[in-house]
């Protein structure tokens, strides 16, 4: 497995269409296999979780970012660096709680729904991009920041924007104590 160091920045890219269509094929297969939307959502979340626990390694290796000192830095890192690296889009972050551990990321452009016009009537409560929630949750858990991640709004369901909510489960003060 030895490779000369020059090969590290090889062309490790694939077309966006292939990725998006493969994701669509996966969701379509899940919809065929499971009748209830909740089951499909749960399955997507689980798959996202196993992707996330591996993705974080790749992210840390390739981005060489410094350790985040606060939850808001972490949320910024996810929205601006991670999403840019893997999906080519940047999200905007806003903090939605006084305690500083709830954030929401707004997706202007969601590449996963490039070819999705809308959800079929019998799948109205399907969270098409639920994989993303699982990925974020898995990645955060591997850096010791357990969080709950859900979709707050979804353009496919008729809302104005697509919004992902991240709620860090540990209180921010705990982190300060642990560092000292």
């Amino acid at each position: 497995m030895s490779r000369s160091p020059g090969r590290k920045q090889e062309n490790h890219k694939i077309s966006r269409e292939l990725f998006v269509l493969t994701y669509g094929a996966l969701v379509a297969q899940l919809c065929k296999d499971y009748e209830k939307d909740e089951d499909v959502n749960a399955c997507l979340d689980k798959m996202g979780y196993s992707i996330g626990i591996r993705l974080i390694d790749d992210f840390l290796a390739r981005s060489a970012v410094k350790k985040c000192r606060s939850y808001s830095e972490t949320a910024d890192m996810i929205a601006q660096v991670a999403f840019k690296m893997y999906l080519g889009v940047t999200l905007s972050v806003s903090c939605s709680s006084a305690t500083g551990n709830e954030f929401s990321l707004i997706l202007d452009k969601n590449p996963l729904v490039d070819f999705v016009e809308e959800l079929p009537a019998e799948r109205a409560s399907l969270c098409y991009c639920n994989l993303l929630c699982g990925v974020i949750r898995g990645a955060l858990e591997m850096v010791n920041l357990p969080a709950e991640v859900t979709f707050l709004q979804d353009r496919l369901k008729g809302d104005a924007v697509t919004e992902i909510g991240i709620t860090f489960l540990r209180k921010p003060e705990d982190r300060k104590h642990r560092r000292n």
């Binding site: 890219k13 077309s15 292939l18 297969q29 893997y86 080519g88």
Partner: protein, 188 residues
């Protein structure tokens, strides 16, 4: 009436096709593909079934990739000859999906219905390591299903299968009718 038709046009349908906007990292696709394979593996009992499942998923992708690609690469023209469509597959299709052309395109010596698309290291197999007990599994079955859908939708129905030969070989076997039609076109 279905609410879809009264709600107003979806912005997705209004967008121009244009050139593909960006490329994504291979890592993201590789992880997604690995989850896909694991999901299929949990629901099947044999390697052949797993390959069939992967081919079905590839089929889903291929059907949808073709239209947009043809509209971009060959506007206003449709491939009508077998060789034409095979060169389209080896070049523009492979480049658009996997970032590079397929390595070789060959025809079988003894059979004019069979062609081979050969790749030393298919992109989908980049991070796949096959255990010895399943050594016949080739996840390029996904690419085989994709190719089968593309050829079928382009008017050249065929059977495509993935094999371990010179790397990975996708064996394309066209239907009799396709070859007969091709011969009669040449005769004209």
């Amino acid at each position: 009436m279905d609410s879809r038709f009264t709600r107003g046009k979806s912005p997705v349908l209004e967008r121009a096709l244009g050139r593909p906007r960006s490329e994504l990292s291979l890592a993201a696709f590789a992880l997604l593909f690995s989850e896909l394979v694991q999901y299929c593996q949990r629901r099947v009992a044999s390697v052949a079934e797993l390959q069939t499942r992967l081919a079905q998923l590839g089929h889903h992708v291929g059907l949808r990739a073709l239209d947009a690609l043809v509209a971009r690469e060959r506007p206003g023209r449709r491939e009508t000859k077998v060789l034409g469509v095979l060169l389209f597959v080896k070049g523009p299709l492979w480049r658009a999906l996997f970032g590079r052309e397929a390595d070789k395109l060959e025809q079988a010596n003894d059979d004019d219905r069979t062609f081979y698309v050969i790749e030393r290291e298919p992109v989908v197999n980049t991070f796949v390591s096959v255990p010895r007990e399943n050594s016949s599994l080739n996840c390029a079955a996904f690419a085989a299903g994709l190719l089968e859908a593309v050829l079928g939708a382009a008017g050249f129905p065929a059977r495509v299968s993935a094999h371990w030969h010179k790397g990975t070989t996708l064996m394309i076997k066209f239907d009799e009718a396709v070859i007969a039609r091709d011969k009669s076109l040449e005769g004209r």
